[in-house]
């Protein structure tokens, strides 16, 4: 059996379905991609914002004005500098426990990026392995993988993630693992489809005729050719993981305080949304920019590496 194509392409609700399956069999020359990239405004904006966020997060220990964990309840909820009672000592104000908001935002960037990257890495590893096997070997392997993917899709993600986090106890590690083990379906679907296309190409047949082992063919001939597609999926899943972490934190089972993940900061700021809206708006905008940048980057990458996939 094969995976129902529609289900496959539409694997995740929160993300665009047109994941690339039509791929150039031979990788485009790097220079061409670069030139296309420099002309693609979405890609440029996405890369720019993401670069800034990564830079700020990495440099957090150097540029953060305060210790992000140092609480002083007598200095709580100071508004940001542009509001009437703001001070330059706390540019973005302080949170409900008097911790410097800018410092928490910078360190929180590290955590949100870490969650996105590690979850995408884990799920990428699982999904790609399954997809490669299914696409390359076909037959019963394909059927088994498709069945695993269908089963995984049938499990309600948020609910299962919540239940697992509740059983093990929420923590950064648990969140990363749970998301990593839940979000691999799109990797599997895309890899499978791409591998199926490449499997019958001449250069693969040639490699097979030359007596290369399956493992080497997969590693040397197929994987490099589907890398572009994988990177695109990885960006999408990264964004997905970051948003899901925010949802888990909102429901109280994500990253645990006092760690400052952006999702948790939004969740904690919720209490102040009616009267001190900046508490939720600042991390909210940060998260929005991050996810937006990753999505733009992903969309851009797809356009650049496989322009014919987009109508």
């Amino acid at each position: 059996m094969s995976l129902p194509p529609d289900t496959a392409a539409l694997a995740a609700p929160a993300l665009p379905p047109e994941t690339p399956v039509a791929l150039a069999p031979v990788p485009s020359p790097t220079r061409l991609i670069l030139r296309r990239g420099l002309r693609h405004s979405g890609f440029l904006i996405g890369a720019g914002i993401l670069g800034l966020i990564v830079l700020a997060a990495l440099a957090a220990p150097l540029i953060a004005p305060h210790d992000p964990y140092a609480q002083d309840v007598s200095r709580r909820l100071i508004p940001p500098v542009w509001q009437a009672k703001g001070t330059w000592d706390h540019v973005l104000g302080t949170d409900k426990l008097g911790r410097d908001y800018l410092s928490r935002l910078l360190y929180g960037g590290q955590i949100s990026l870490l969650i996105g990257l590690s979850a995408a890495l884990i799920s990428g590893l699982i999904g790609t392995t399954l997809g490669l096997c299914a696409g390359y070997f076909g037959g019963w392997v394909d059927s088994v993988v498709s069945y695993i993917v269908t089963t995984r899709l049938a499990m309600p993600v948020v609910l299962v993630a919540l239940a697992m986090a509740a059983l093990v106890g929420g923590s950064l590690k648990v969140v990363v693992l749970v998301l990593g083990f839940l979000l691999w379906d799109r990797f599997a679907v895309v890899t499978r489809a791409a591998t199926q296309q490449i499997r019958n190409q001449d250069f693969v047949s040639a490699a097979r005729a030359a007596g290369l082992t399956d493992l080497r063919i997969i590693g040397q001939e197929i994987l490099p050719n589907i890398m572009n597609a994988l990177i695109v999926v990885a960006t999408l899943e990264m964004a997905h993981a970051i948003l899901l972490e925010a949802a888990l934190s909102f429901l109280g089972l994500g990253v645990q305080p006092p760690l400052p993940s952006w999702g948790l900061m939004i969740a904690e700021g919720k209490q102040y949304m009616f009267f001190q809206p900046w508490v939720i708006t600042i991390p909210g905008v940060a998260l929005l920019l991050l996810v937006l940048a990753i999505n733009l980057l992903g969309d851009g990458l797809r356009d650049i590496t496989a322009p014919e996939a987009r109508h």
């Binding site: 094969s2 529609d6 289900t7 995740a12 609700p13 089963t151 919540l162 948003l243 949802a247």
Partner: protein
């Protein structure tokens, strides 16, 4: 068609069995069931009695079969927290979530399909780009933030719609918009791509050459064909919405299945949690099965694979 149907149904059954094993294990991973059923005030002998009464001293496979047989009859046992049968709790909550899902889907389709069509017709204009931007932006916003913002604007400031609860249809408007918004981009993009494909196809070109009015071509020829995959997507999205409504229900205090699940997790009430996981998974399996069969019926090419 028959072979395809049989194959597809068999897969669905296999998946259903796997999912029920997973949800059975979820319950058993949650701790010692006898202690949980007995409650914190129970004594040692009481717990032992319950272990025996509930067959919790049997081998795991026997327990699974008993459990599975009961689950087939919609008997999921009793809630640890409320003194009620799990199925009664579910029956009270499922309609709310289904209703929310239906409206959310309607909202999503109602907005996304026209948007997708316009984006395709006005391809690469500012309309197309705006539609894309809206969809990208929407996906970057945490759903609870969007929901709370809707409350702030439409309930607190404008006073148009109620904040929480499920008393009237009005209560469902904001949560449905919040939930539907996240399904919109996928539907829109699929419609847009489908339209582009169909508009470029031979028979539309022929129709144009015959001089048929553009609107007629658009609706009668293009849209009808482009919308086929959207039906399948809608079914799948509906399944996802039921599972994903947990956050939205929490924000709007809409006491559906999602909120029941969330609270049951916080109450360590795992019989309820596993029943909800199972029910949602079964609904999803049923929906995708129906969608696949419908698709295969409409588009014979799909039966070959």
């Amino acid at each position: 068609m028959l072979a395809f149907t049989v194959r597809r149904v068999l897969v669905a059954l296999a998946v259903a069995v796997t999912v029920s094993v997973a949800s059975f294990l979820l319950l058993h991973l949650s701790g010692d069931l006898a202690t949980a059923i007995a409650g914190p005030e129970a004594t040692g002998p009481q717990i032992a009695q319950i272990r025996q009464d509930y067959g919790l001293d049997q081998p795991l496979l026997t327990q699974f079969l008993t459990w599975g047989w009961r689950a087939l009859h919609l008997d999921f046992g009793n809630s640890f927290y409320f003194r009620e049968r799990v199925i009664d709790l579910l029956a009270a909550r499922l309609p709310i979530t289904l209703y929310l899902g239906f409206i959310a889907l309607a909202v999503a389709l109602f907005v996304a399909i026209p948007l997708g069509v316009i984006a395709a017709v006005k391809r690469d204009t500012w309309i197309d780009r705006t539609a894309l931007a809206v969809s990208v932006l929407g996906q970057a916003m945490p759903s609870f933030w969007f929901g709370l913002t809707l409350i702030l604007i439409f309930s607190v400031n404008l006073r148009w719609l109620p904040v929480s609860g499920n008393a009237t249809w009005k209560n469902f408007v904001l949560p449905a918009v919040a939930l539907g918004y996240y399904a919109m981009p996928a539907v829109m993009r699929l419609t847009r791509n489908g339209m582009l494909e169909v508009l470029a196809s031979d028979y539309v070109r022929t129709a144009r050459a015959k001089g048929l009015p553009p609107r007629k071509i658009l609706v009668r020829h293009a849209l009808r064909n482009a919308v086929i995959p959207v039906i399948a997507l809608a079914a799948v999205q509906f399944g996802f919405m039921l599972g994903g409504s947990i956050v939205i229900e929490a924000v709007f205090s809409l006491q559906g299945l999602g909120q029941l699940a969330w609270e049951s997790i916080a109450r360590n009430d795992f019989p309820v949690v596993q029943a909800i996981v199972l029910v949602l998974a079964m609904i999803y399996i049923g929906l995708t099965l129906a969608a696949d069969l419908l698709n295969a019926f409409l588009d014979p090419r799909l039966r070959q694979s």
